[in-house]
Each structure stands twice: as structure tokens, then as C-alpha cells.
């Protein structure tokens, strides 16, 4: 409770400071709107449904890209973990491409797919898949061999050993990888939405982009806040329960 109050006070102070600086008139109000300006933009955008529609469009793209990343990344991670060949080929490729900031996939995506949904999907998948692949293969490789031996003496073999021993044992790594993959997907999509401005759906990134086009700083700041909020909310809703489970079962942080 005390920690919560402390955090609350800190953010309240931040808002007060922002208000004070904005009122001091050092910068033009069009460049630094007051907290109230941003709040009233958010109020208007929420009221006319713009915000909700944009959030839903963005979440739909995000979920699709993330799902493709998981569906491709985890099996590829299994392949990379199972043999030295997999590690030296797929594993190395993933290691290299993971170092590439996802915004760097955009030129390729635009040339290949044009201003389309596919271009955005491509960027999100490319931004997500490598970290998931690496986390999956690292996780599988760090399963203590004693677990598999113990399971074998109890009559477990083949698929049973995989689904009941190896995969559960690698779960903490998988969750870490999924979380990281999610963060990468979120960043990739925002980059994609800012660059790919199309009419098939108006996402949060595009809202941000048009805020700049219109010189509407209240919109820019407001949308940025929403992006932060959505990111945090998903983390709390999707990953926190999983992490709590791991924490109680494994006794780790």
C-alpha cells in the first residue's frame, strides 16, 4: 500500500511539473500542450469512438502477427535445439536477425507488399519470430538431463517425454521468450503503422502519424499514452498470471 502511494505521488508530481512547464510559456502551446489539453483530446477521441476503433485495429494486427510468430517460432526453436546442425544453422540465423531492429524490415516490406496489411504483418512476424525461436531453443537445451532420465526409468518415452517433461521443464524460458516476443511485436507494429498509412484500418500508430501531420501535439502525446497503457495492460492481463504460476511452482522470481 505504501509503495503504491509512493508511485502515485511520483506520477502526480510529474504531471504537476509538466503543467508548470507548459504554463511557464517557454515553448509554444502547440509544441507543449498542457496535461489538460491532452486529456481533453483523449476525452473527445474516446467519445467519438476513434480511440477504441484504432485500438481494436491495432490489437487485431498485433495478435495475428504474434500468433504467426509463435506458431512458426516455437517449432523452429525445437528444430534448432535438437541438433548441433540446427543450432549452427537456424540458431545462428536467428541470432543474427534478432539483432536487426524491426523497423529495418520496413523498406523490404514496402517494396514487396506495398502499402498493405501484409506489409505490416510481415514486419511484425519478422520482429517477433527470432526472439521466440531463440528463447524456445535455449529453454529446451537447458532442461536438466536428469529429468529426462528420471522420466525414462518411470516408463516415459518419445512424445510423452516431450509433452510431459521437456516442454514443462522449459516453460520458464518459454514464458520469458513469449514476453520478449510480445514486446518486440508491439514495437514492430508501431513502426509499421507509422510508415504504412493505409485505409484498410486506422491503428494507433497511424493516429500518432496523423497527429504529426496535423501538428496536433495533444493527439501525439495522447496516443503515446494510450500505447503505453495498452502495452502495460496486456502485460498485466496475459503474462502476470503465468508468471505468478511459475513463481509459486518453481519458487523463482
Amino acid at each position: 500500500m505504501r509503495r503504491r502511494v509512493r508511485s502515485l505521488l511520483f506520477f502526480a508530481a510529474l504531471v504537476v511539473l509538466w503543467e508548470a512547464v507548459a504554463r511557464a510559456g517557454i515553448w509554444h502551446r502547440a509544441l507543449l500542450p498542457t496535461p489538460y489539453d491532452v486529456l481533453s483530446f483523449l476525452g473527445r477521441a474516446a467519445a467519438d469512438g476513434t480511440l477504441l476503433r484504432a485500438t481494436l485495429v491495432t490489437l487485431r494486427r498485433l495478435l495475428l502477427g504474434y500468433a504467426v510468430g509463435l506458431v512458426l517460432g516455437i517449432p523452429l526453436g525445437v528444430v534448432a535445439a535438437r541438433s548441433a546442425l540446427g543450432r549452427d544453422t537456424l540458431g545462428l540465423l536467428a541470432l543474427g536477425l534478432q539483432a536487426l531492429p524491426s523497423v529495418c524490415w520496413l523498406p523490404m516490406a514496402l517494396l514487396w507488399f506495398g502499402q498493405t496489411e501484409s506489409a505490416m504483418l510481415f514486419v511484425v512476424v519478422m520482429g517477433t519470430i527470432w526472439s521466440i525461436l531463440l528463447a524456445a531453443s535455449d529453454g529446451l537445451r537447458s532442461v536438466p538431463p536428469i529429468y529426462v532420465r528420471a522420466a525414462r526409468t518411470m516408463g516415459s518415452k518419445g512424445l510423452h517425454t516431450w509433452t510431459r517433461v521437456i516442454l514443462p521443464a522449459a516453460l520458464p524460458f518459454f514464458v520469458t521468450g513469449m514476453k520478449q516476443g510480445w514486446a518486440f511485436a508491439w514495437r514492430s507494429l508501431m513502426a509499421a503503422e507509422i510508415f504504412v498509412t493505409i485505409l484498410t484500418g486506422f491503428g494507433l500508430g497511424q493516429l500518432l502519424h496523423y497527429g504529426r501531420e496535423l501538428h496536433a501535439m495533444d493527439q501525439v502525446l495522447g496516443v503515446m499514452l494510450v500505447i503505453v497503457a495498452v502495452g502495460l495492460l496486456v502485460d498485466r492481463l496475459a503474462f502476470a498470471p503465468l508468471e505468478r504460476f511459475l513463481h509459486t511452482r518453481w519458487g523463482t522470481g
Binding site: P144, I146, Y147, R149, A150, A151, R152, T153, M154, G155, S156, H160, R164, V165, P168, A169, L171, T248, R249, W250, G251, T252
Partner: protein, 265 residues
């Protein structure tokens, strides 16, 4: 008179015949076992003692079917070991409990692989063995919440639950404190007397071997060989601190020291 195959004439639960096993390591080929033979009768408690690297764990792994011998054969009930099997359960030095399952889930793991049991029957069996090791109050506990001794108790219950005829234990108490260990010596003896499993117990602690075993086989390394066997006829339950246990332990330690290169202990 009818002639019986050797296994039937002298029925032994486990027969190890002229087994050799070597490993390739960075330092070259290491002969972990060289022409090792030992017979273990049904219901017998045999301890393998020797310094680290003498091949005792290798031998245990071969009997467990986790590894294959280069030469020789290992027969269980007269038939060659095809691989790991529920008739021979293993307890390792680390409890090797699965952290994603609670105490009950761990105990059920082997039982779930046993066909023709209803879920209720599996639960009853698991409960019975958890009660036997004194952990009925911890069914829902997570592995990381248990002490080292409790972990090994769960591992023992997990190994006993599928009702194997043979139990193999690879230094199961090596990582525990002395008090916990002494308690477990008592528990293991009473469980063994009640269940009459055939037990192959690996340790480097001579007195532990005397306290638990019907027979103590001492092994020496490079290459790993069984050099001498001692029969222990002291009455049970035995106390590791009793004078007669200590006395026989002394005798075996002396023998081991004589057999080791350079006469060290």
C-alpha cells in the same frame, strides 16, 4: 534328473555377467567397468561402495537400462535388460523431482504411465506411499518448498508407487545433513523390511553401506572392478552409530584402503 538353465537353478533377481563399459572422454578412453559380475537375489539389499570414479553409478545405470554395456550381459529375472522399465525404479542423488508438479503430481507421474488403473486407484496408491514416507500433510506442496530430506522422501515415494520389484539408489542421501540421513536410514530399513524389494544401493560411505545392506561389494577404480564382498548379518534395524556397525565399517574401510593404488583411503 532334469537340467535347468543356470538362471533357474540359482534364481537370482539380477545377474550381472562379465560386464565391461568404457567412455570416450577428452582425456581418452576410460574403462568405467571391467569384467564385472555380481548376482543379487530376490529381496536382497546390496550396497556398492567405492571411491568416486570406480564405476558404481555406471553399473547402476546399466542395470536401470539407461545405458548399454559394451560387453557382457545383465539379466533381470533371467532375461536381458531391454531398456528402462517400471520393474526397476531409480532414485538419484538429486531428487530429480519435477518442479512443475506438486508433491502429489510427482508421485503420480510413474503411476499415470501404468496401464489398467483408474484415476482413483492411482490417487490411493500415491497417497499410501506418501503416507509411508510421512508426507501426507504435503500433498499440494511445491517442490521448492520442501527441505532436502523431504525431497528425497517424495522421490522414494515416487519410485515405490509403481510397485517395482527392484529399487536402485544412487547415493540418494549424499546431499543431506547427518540428522536427516539417520532418520532416512531407519525409514528405508523399515520400508524394505515391509516391502521386500530387491535394492541396489550405491554409496561412497562405507558405514552407510554396512548400516543398510545384506551384502557390501567394494569397487576400485581405473578400471572399475568389484574386488571383495562382505556379508552383513547384524540384526535389523541397525543404527549407523552402533558399535558393531562401526566395527564392520572399519574392517571394510581397511580392505578398501589396501585395494586402492598407493594404499590411500
Amino acid at each position: 534328473m532334469t537340467t535347468f538353465p543356470e538362471e533357474l537353478a540359482h534364481p537370482s533377481k539380477i545377474a550381472v555377467r562379465g560386464v565391461s563399459k568404457s567412455y570416450r572422454t577428452a582425456a581418452g578412453v576410460v574403462a568405467a567397468l571391467d569384467d564385472v559380475s555380481i548376482d543379487i537375489a530376490e529381496g536382497e539389499f546390496v550396497c556398492l561402495v567405492g571411491p568416486s570414479g570406480c564405476g558404481k553409478s555406471t553399473l547402476l545405470n546399466l542395470v536401470a537400462g539407461l545405458d548399454r554395456a559394451d560387453r557382457g550381459e545383465i539379466l533381470v529375472d533371467g532375461a536381458p535388460v531391454p531398456g528402462p522399465g517400471r520393474d526397476r525404479m531409480v532414485m538419484f542423488q538429486e531428487a530429480a523431482l519435477f518442479p512443475w508438479l506438486d508433491v502429489m503430481g510427482n508421485t503420480l507421474f510413474g503411476l499415470k504411465l501404468k496401464p489398467n488403473l483408474t484415476p482413483e486407484a492411482r490417487r490411493d496408491v500415491a497417497l499410501y506411499y506418501l503416507r509411508l514416507v510421512g508426507l501426507e500433510g504435503f500433498l499440494r506442496a511445491n517442490v521448492h518448498e520442501l527441505s532436502g530430506g523431504m525431497k528425497q522422501r517424495v522421490a522414494l515415494a515416487r519410485a515405490l508407487a509403481p510397485n517395482p520389484r527392484v529399487l536402485m539408489m544412487d547415493e540418494p542421501f549424499g546431499a543431506l545433513d547427518a540428522m536427516t540421513r539417520e532418520q532416512l536410514y531407519g525409514d528405508l530399513q523399515s520400508i524394505w523390511q515391509a516391502k521386500r524389494k530387491t535394492i541396489l544401493f550405491v554409496t561412497h560411505n562405507v558405514r552407510e553401506a554396512v548400516c543398510l545392506g545384506d551384502r557390501v561389494a567394494i569397487m576400485t577404480p581405473r578400471p572399475g572392478r568389484i574386488r571383495e564382498e562382505f556379508r552383513v548379518t547384524l540384526p535389523r534395524p541397525r543404527d549407523i552409530n552402533a558399535l558393531d556397525v562401526a566395527g564392520l565399517g572399519r574392517e571394510i574401510t581397511d580392505a578398501l584402503r589396501r585395494l586402492l593404488p598407493g594404499g590411500r583411503g
